[in-house]
Every structure is written in C-alpha cells, then in structure tokens.
C-alpha cells in the first residue's frame, strides 16, 4: 500500500464514521468546501514549480524574499473629501498618526472629468472625495507635504493623465523632480466599464491614454506605478473570489497587449504594473486567492509575454478591505470584520493596505473611525504574530488545494475571455458584467433565504437599534465654495495661454502617434481646468456608451 492509498483508506473510514453525525446537521451541509482536506488534495502539487520560495518564481509565497521580515506593508489610508484645504488637513493628520503613504479619493465630477461648476456636478462636489478643478486645487491639496518623501496613490482612472500631470507640476513647484516621485495612479479603465462606472471615453482612445502614460513614465517618472489593475471594484460589484482575479488578470493581459502593440518592450513597463485586490470576509479563501493571483500572473508574463526581468513577473498588490461587507446595522461589528480581512491580506502577502472604517455603510468615515481602522493594521502587525512568518499558511492541505482551485477557475475564465477576443471584447459584449451581476444576485438571494448569515442583517438583529452618532457630514456649501474658487482661478490665469495649450492638445489628440502626456502637462501648467482638458478629449474621442444587460 502506498502512502496515498493508506490515507485514502483512513479517509474512507473517517467519512463512514461521521455520516450519522453529519446527517444531524443538514444546515451545515450546503457548503461548497469539503469537511476536511488531506495530503490527497495536494498530491499533484510540485513544491519547486508551484510554490517555491518568497521572491522566487512563481512567487506564490510572496514577491519579496524577506516580505514582512524586512519591512511591514505600507499602511495606506484612502482619504479625501470636500475641498483641497479640508483634505490636506486629513492627510497631514494621517501622516502624523503613522500612515506611511497617502491615498487620494477624488469626488465624482473630478473622476469623470467635469468641473465643479458644470450643471451635472450639482450635488456631487466634494462628496465622495476631494474636488480638483485645476492645478490651484492640487497645490493646496499637497501643501506642506513633501512629495519627494511621501508615496501617493490616486484613485483616478479616465482622467488619470491629467491628475498625474498636476501632481508632477506641483512637485516641480516644490523643487522635486519627476524622477523622484513615488506613487500610483489607478488608471484602470477596463474595470470602470465592467464594474465601477467612472468612464469617459470609449475603449480605444482610453487604451491609448494608458499606453501613453506607460511610455511617458518609463522615461520621466520611473518610480511611478502607472496602473493599478483593480479587482477590488469587481468584487464590490458582487463577483466571486475567482472572478475577481480572473477578470482583473484578463484586463491586465489587455493592457500588456496594448502596450506591446504600441511598440513598447514588455520589460520596459511591466515592472511598474501593480494590482489592487479586495480583502473579503472568508479569510482562508482570500489568502488562497492572493497566492493564486501571484502564480497566475507570473506564468502569464513568462509564458505568454516572454518577459525576461523578474520584476515584470511579480504581481505586487494593494489591498482594501471589502466595503460591501460592512453593515449599517450594529456598525461597531465592522471593526471585527475589518480585523479579519486585514488578517487575510497580511497572510496573503499584500504590499499595502487600506482598512475601512466601521461607519462606511452609513457615511464617509469620521476621524475616530479612521483611527480605529489604522490601529487595526498596527495590532495585526505588532501583536498578532501573523506578520512574523512569511506565507504562514503554505502547505496547509486546505489552503493549497483552494489556491489550486481558484487558479483553475480563473484560468478557465481567462481562456473563455481569450476566445471572445480579449477583455475589451468581453466587456463590449457585456459578458463580464453579466457574470458579475449573476454572482451579486445569487449572493443577495442567499442572504435573503438565510443560507448565508450576515450578523446583524439577517441574524442576531437588535430591535430598534439606535442610529449611530458623530457621522461625518460634508458641508453642503462646499459646491458653492469650490465654484467661487474656480471662478477666481479663471479670472487670474492667462486665458490666451490656456487657449493655446488646449488647441495644441486638440491637435495632439487627433494624431494617433503623438504621446499626449507632454501636452496635458503643458495645459495643466496654464491652469486649464480638468473639465476643459477632458472636453477637448471628449471632442476628439467621443464618449463611451455603457453596455448594460441585466
């Protein structure tokens, strides 16, 4: 009898012995996972090929050799609301409290390329993030923050080129050259079409803008992460764990293909690609997901795109805890959810982490809540021991089997998307959106049937719960103030220079071979507004019409 046969025999005996007991608990029998996992579940796993060591291909155990035994992850809190002045205060508070990186949230008009005085911006200015109309706002936003020292992540997609240009211009004024700048722009338009909704232009010109940024940064802003290919929002929109990484990696493949098609060498830009994952509630499934994503990307980059540099094959990622898993009911329970999600992200080897605040199902987070969220990271880092050993769950029968399973599911999706002609085609067909929606609907029905318990929502509710106090309220006058500021900027600037810069940008947009970044940078320096710049591009590129199928 071989070792495996022996285990199989023992397993059969075990299964036999528990049949009766299990039958008494039918309500726990619907789970997709097996009851226990054994060496049989990972018998085909090859340590050297599939797991290996941290910092070594396929990076299943982590992208750096030392991981948190060298440096902790970057504790990066996503923040921004109201005006640049208010947000600047919050950033400086965060830096004083021990945050090691900034993460800027922009309001919706900014994300969709509208100025604060556009009628469509009415009611939205300063609501979900800070309003940026021109370079003047950006100067205030980073006032007294040394851009040579801090690393800044900006959640900006369709107009990413414009915000990056503004950041470069502010740094220049501070005396910091572009090659010193560290940070990330999200710049991931495909998931906007599929899940998040802040798109402006159609796919083709959007992909051009993205490759223009890749090319410009590889020469001028070499430490900048030019894209954060995001599964976070796909998961928030309701996908499963495997769908999250499958659709995101498919997006990643599309970006790499576009850049190669534009004439870039894969190793010139691939090292600056980064990813953005969700940390959801199911801790072990999430750890497996993070591990699987690294393994898939490494193999895709090596085998499909023939990358040579190690860096090109390493999937580095930022993580945010799952906003959609926060409950409005008994909001303090969210602290525990976030702690578990943090544990998952850390055991999964994240490079940076944003922890959500307990009150985010109700409003923007208050300062107290943000403090608890940040301290959750500190506790996991210093007290839990989870950060003391690299990839601590490797070798677990369950986690390894789960890693394989998620990898397989994701690869099946990627194959399907390839057959459709890639991520852009799959999105245009509405395929990815439909898959996400189906999962979201199933989740909701499981919650409503009680098959999935959400504490405080469909179980353990409190009757007549007191609404929480001290929620952050964005001052309703922010829209008016921002409009007044914008009027001032427009009055003060050299309008001839603006006109000339915009005309120049217009011409550049029409020439497909022209890199738009230098033209955008020149325009922002004249204090041309975000809306003006985006309108020039709208004029040439048109606007995306969403594909929605329910």
């Amino acid at each position: 009898m071989t070792e495996h046969e022996k285990i199989q025999a023992e397993l059969d005996k075990y299964e036999e012995s528990v049949t009766k007991a299990i039958a008494r608990f039918p309500e726990r029998d619907h789970l997709p996972e097996k009851r226990i996992y054994t060496p049989l579940d990972i018998k085909d796993l090859d340590y050297a090929d599939d797991i290996s060591f941290p910092g070594v291909f396929p990076y299943t155990r982590g992208v750096q050799p030392t991981m948190y035994r060298g440096r902790y992850w970057t504790m990066r809190m996503y923040a921004g609301f109201s005006t640049a002045e208010e947000s600047n205060k919050r950033y400086r508070y965060l830096i004083e409290s021990g945050a090691t990186g900034l993460s800027c949230a922009f309001d919706l008009p900014t994300q969709i390329g509208y100025d604060s005085d556009d009628p469509i911006s009415e009611g939205e200015v300063g609501k979900v993030g800070v309003a940026i109309d021109s370079l003047a706002d950006m100067e205030v936003l980073f006032d007294k923050i040394d851009l040579g020292k801090v690393s800044t992540s900006m959640t900006i997609n369709a107009p990413a080129s414009v915000l990056l240009a503004m950041y470069i211009a502010v740094a220049e004024k501070q005396g910091v050259s572009a090659d010193q700048l560290r940070g990330t722009i999200q710049n991931d338009i495909l998931k906007e079409y599929a899940a998040r909704g802040t798109y402006i232009f159609p796919p083709r010109p959007s992909m051009r803008l993205i490759t223009n940024i890749f090319e410009y940064c590889s020469k001028n802003v070499p430490k900048w992460n030019t894209i954060s290919i995001s599964g976070y929002h796909i998961r928030e929109a309701g996908s499963t764990a495997a769908q999250e990484i499958a659709f995101t990696i498919a997006d990643g493949i599309a970006y790499v293909e576009a850049a190669i098609k534009a004439g870039l060498d894969v190793d010139a830009f691939a090292g600056r690609l980064s990813f953005f994952w969700n940390a959801h509630n199911n801790v072990l499934e999430e750890v497996a997901k993070f591990r699987a994503s690294r393994r898939i990307w490494a193999r895709v980059m090596r085998d499909r795109f023939h990358a040579k540099k190690d860096k090109s094959m390493k999937l580095r990622f930022h993580t945010q805890t799952a906003g959609s898993m926060l409950t409005a009911q008994q909001p303090d329970n969210n602290i525990i959810r976030v702690a578990l999600q943090t544990a998952a992200a850390v055991m999964g080897g994240t490079q940076s982490l944003h922890t959500n605040s307990r009150d985010e199902a109700l409003a923007l987070p208050s300062e107290d809540s943000v403090h608890i969220a940040l301290m959750t990271q500190k506790i996991v880092a210093h007290e839990s021991g989870l950060a003391d050993v690299i990839d601590p769950l490797a070798g677990s029968y369950y986690v390894e089997a789960m890693t394989n399973k998620i990898e397989q599911e994701a690869m099946d999706y990627i194959k399907k998307i390839d057959d459709m002609g890639g991520a852009v085609a799959a999105i245009e067909k509405g395929y990815i959106q439909k898959e996400i929606q189906d999962s979201a609907y199933k989740w909701q029905m499981d919650v409503e049937s009680g098959a999935r318990v959400i504490v405080g929502v469909n179980a353990y509710q409190i009757e007549n719960e007191e609404p929480p106090k001290n929620l952050l309220k964005v001052d309703a006058s922010v829209g008016e103030r921002q409009k007044a500021k914008l009027a001032q900027v427009k009055a003060k600037r050299d309008n001839e220079a603006v006109k000339k810069a915009l005309a120049d940008l217009h011409a550049a947009c029409e020439d497909e071979n022209e890199n738009l970044m230098p033209h955008i940078l020149a325009a922002v320096k004249t204090y041309a507004t975000l809306g003006e710049i985006c309108n020039v591009m709208r004029d040439v590129f048109g606007e995306y019409e969403a594909h929605i199928s329910l």
Binding site: E545, A546, I548, S549, L550
Partner: protein
C-alpha cells in the same frame, strides 16, 4: 360625435384621446398603458384616435439579440430629427414566462434622446403574447401616429415569432445582423430572409463583416429571382454613427418604391383586414371564454372529458353552435 374618454386612472382625470390629439405627452403615455392593459377605456380611446392615423411611416427593426438594434435606432432617430421629423420608438423586450416580469432595457441605449421633445420612447414587454407584436403593439403605434409622429420605429425582441409579426405592423422592415454569429447564419436563412426589405450589417469594423455581407447577398440573389425589390445590404457601425445616412437613404428608397407601386396601399389594406379579423377573433374568443367560465360549464366539460365521456372537439363544436347561432 363620440363621447369624451375620461381617465380616472390612478387618480387622474382627463380626456385621454382628446389630450393625445392635442399633443399631451402624458396622455399619450397613459393611452399606451390603457392599450397594453386592454382596460375598459382602451377601445374607446382607439375609436377616437383611429381617424387620425395613417400618416406615420412605420419602420420595423428586427434581428438577433446583441445585434445593436437599439443603438442603431438611436442613431437613426437622431438623423431623422436633424431632418425635422418627429420620432416615436416602441421597443419590445421579452417577458419572463416564469415570473411575468420583464427587464425593459433598450431605453438605456437611447438615453441621449430622452430630453428631445420630438422623440417619444416607450418600452413594452411581450407579456406572453406569442408574437409580442399583436394588436397591442399595432395600437400603440396608432396612438403615436395619431399623436403626430412622422416616423415610428418598432424594435422587436429579436427572437421567435416577432420577426414574422413585425412585417404585419411595419411599412418597411429592416433586419440587423452582425458578424461573428457563427452558425446562426443558417437560422437566418430559414426565417429572416423573407421578411427583410433592407438588410443591415452592424459592427462592420469587426472581423467577418464582409463575409457576412457576401453571404446575405448570395442568399438574396438565390431567393430574389422573381422579385421586383432586391433588398439592399448596408454596412454600418452604429456606435460610431458610420453608415447611418446611407442606410436611411436605402430605407427611403424602399418606402418610395412601395408607395409608387401600390404595395404600401396593398400592405395597409391587408393590415386593416388582419386588424378586423384579429379583433373579431379575440373578442369572440374572450366573450365565449368568459361565458363558459362564469356559468361554470368549463369545469363540467373538463370533468366529462377526463372521464372520456366526450372530447374537446365535440365540446367546442357544441359551444360554438350554441353561441353563434
């Protein structure tokens, strides 16, 4: 002089037919609801509107799901608007046979038209009617016609019976196809070929567009030996607004053709005949059904048939003999 139709629907009080003729958009909307629900007011409304119909050009838009019918309709409507014509659009989506509900999603692709006062878009569910385009759709078209619309698009579900029914409702029928449907071309051969007055290959920038055009042309040539009108095949890229003007030129050519050759008059005569027969059939049907349900005879018949004492054919024969004598 017919009596005014008063609408007490949902607390509102207005003479719907009169208001439709006055160009009241809410009245048009509520008239269509009445028609769809076949409520007690609908017949009166239609009687009042009917004399004012017959002016609009009705364009049927059909083709498989995903062919871009709504996007194309949107772009064509914009072009007609530029030419000063007013536009009505009826977009039909399938009703779920299980829940009876429907997602009416075509409107999303026409959001840019919502605020144009010269355009009125109405989404309808098939509500289980086999064709989806029974006299309810035809009556909704008439309501828009009486309201004063110059052109009315009727966009079908794109599956099943609706393709054939559209021909009855429309003056000109346009079939929209896209490359990359694979073996679906076989199915097209079977059904759609006979009904298209104009064929459109959308997404013409995708691989296989030229091949599809060739295939359709080939089939039309095989099919069309005996016909006067050889349907043209136009390439468009609807979402980039490419080829739309040329497409409209072909549609107008067809409209002129059927007008000048008496075909339009013929089609409309046939349509009127169908209408009478449809309404007659459905009224008689529902009259008799109601009767035998109300007096409890239906259940008796069912019992007798179950016991094999009689059969459905005899039962229906007897009922008809009795009621129609």
């Amino acid at each position: 002089m017919l009596p005014p139709v008063l609408c007490f629907e949902r607390g509102r009080d207005m003479d719907i037919a009169e208001e439709v003729l006055n160009g009241n958009r809410l009245a048009l909307s509520r008239a269509i609801t009445s028609i769809e629900n076949e409520d007690e007011k609908s017949t009166e409304i239609m009687k009042r509107l009917y004399p004012h119909t017959g002016h609009a050009f009705v364009l049927g838009v059909t083709g498989p799901p995903g062919a871009g019918k709504s996007t194309l309709t949107d772009k064509m409507a914009r072009e007609y608007r530029k030419r000063g014509m007013t536009v009505g659009i009826i977009a039909i989506d399938p009703t779920s046979p299980f829940s009876g509900g429907a997602i009416l999603g075509d409107r999303i692709r026409m959001n840019g038209l919502t605020l144009d006062e010269g355009v009125f878009i109405r989404s309808m569910g098939t509500r289980g009617s086999l064709g989806g385009l029974s006299h309810k759709t035809a009556d909704a078209v008439k309501a828009m016609d009486a309201f004063g619309k110059d052109i009315i698009f009727v966009e079908t579900v794109g599956v099943g019976q609706s393709e054939v029914d559209i021909v009855k409702a429309a003056d000109t029928t346009m079939v929209v196809l896209i490359p990359g449907m694979g073996d679906d071309i076989q199915a097209i051969k079977a059904g759609i070929l006979e009904i298209g007055d104009v064929f459109t290959v959308n997404k013409a920038d995708h691989d296989g567009a030229d091949k599809l055009v060739r295939e359709i042309n080939m089939m039309l040539d095989l099919d069309g030996v005996m016909k006067d009108w050889r349907p043209p095949v136009e390439k468009v890229i609807a979402n980039q607004n490419i080829g739309v003007k040329e497409l409209i030129a072909q549609i107008e050519k067809h409209y002129d053709y059927i007008k000048s050759n008496g075909i339009l008059a013929e089609r409309r005569t046939k349509r009127t005949k169908d209408e009478i027969l449809d309404i007659l059939g459905s009224r008689i049907g529902s009259y008799i059904t109601q009767k035998i349900v109300d007096d409890g005879r239906l259940d008796d018949y069912v019992e007798q048939i179950k016991a094999r004492k009689t059969d459905p054919y005899t039962v229906v024969g007897n009922v008809l003999d009795e009621m129609l004598k």
